[in-house]
Symmetry: C2
Subunit: 188 residues, 2 copies
Amino acid sequence: MARPSKQEELVEKALKIFYRDGFHATGMDKLVEETGISKTSMYKYFRTKEDLILATLELRDQQFRDMMTTRIEALADTPKGKLVACFDTLQEWIASDAFNCCMFIKAASEYQNPSHPIHAIAAKHKNTMTTYMAGLARDAGVGDPEGLARQLMLLKEGAIVTAHIQGKAYAAPDAKDAARILIEHACP
Amino acid sequence: MARPSKQEELVEKALKIFYRDGFHATGMDKLVEETGISKTSMYKYFRTKEDLILATLELRDQQFRDMMTTRIEALADTPKGKLVACFDTLQEWIASDAFNCCMFIKAASEYQNPSHPIHAIAAKHKNTMTTYMAGLARDAGVGDPEGLARQLMLLKEGAIVTAHIQGKAYAAPDAKDAARILIEHACP
DNA sequence: GACAAAATGTACAGATCGGTTCATTTAATG
DNA sequence: CATTAAATGAACCGATCTGTACATTTTGTC
């Protein structure tokens, strides 16, 4: 019943491989080998490798925002509490084995032209996340909810790349400490 | 008098191209074409492409830290002022045409294994930057200078990737606003 | 101008790249 | 069981990848 279609299976598996190894570093032959799906099928569902990458990023966007909102709702019930819970969720994710930096930051690193569709989908994801946090900030009665949301997003992005490059030890707790200060400073 | 050697010329030119186009996306043939230096010479100075990349990153580390410290010294003369000046310098850099994200973040994005020499040199650069900021924080008499330095570094990294992905409009000013709050909160 | 060092252009190797072709096999449906 | 659709394997295309080989030309020095 509603077993994932071959196409969905391909996108899910390709997502993991692109996330683990990168985009340029992952050839179509490696995808065939690791997914067990034939190249013929891949090119039946997606006209180009780029189209497949875009599909994996769309799925990632959905998966990641689901994970964030679900955990935040579970961890807190006040608006201000949810803003802090963003950073508890961030910490959980970074601490997990699944963490391997942010797929959209890495995508934008490999496809730097802002008008490139892959770069554009990364921007869209970040904009969506910022808007979500601005909503939480507005619910909390913050004077400049967009401003606070952008500040908190800076901490989130910083923690992700720092954990990826320098290690997981400090990044997430530091981000949460700093976030609390900024939230308190912005709160009425 | 001390005209750059062919090897130095190669590293400088390769740095610009890798920074602009990425590492996997830049082939040796493109380097030959754009630098005007023959492939034979390149492989005389560097055994592999990876060795050349490492040389460009070493140069970038030196250039970037020179730029930061020079501007910070020019902009402020008190320790606390220098901490804020970090973010003025960041803003200048991001606003400039030379800005194209952080080369080390992009390097770590393409070479994700922490034990890979390219990833390791990125970590070294970030550690050096953090230590530098901790020194400024200590001079300012902050109680936990390393902690403040790590928080400010999160803002810096966040501003860099945000400016790269979502655009330059808000990233640096937001980072400076947040930094000032954190610095005031940490100062005696 | 003679000599040595440095740099060059070109061709090439072997592997891999994204993508196509096509005949065959598997799976679902009547 | 027969028919159709879905998926496969394998070979192949031209381009590009990193790296090498070698003969030639340029450059600097006495």
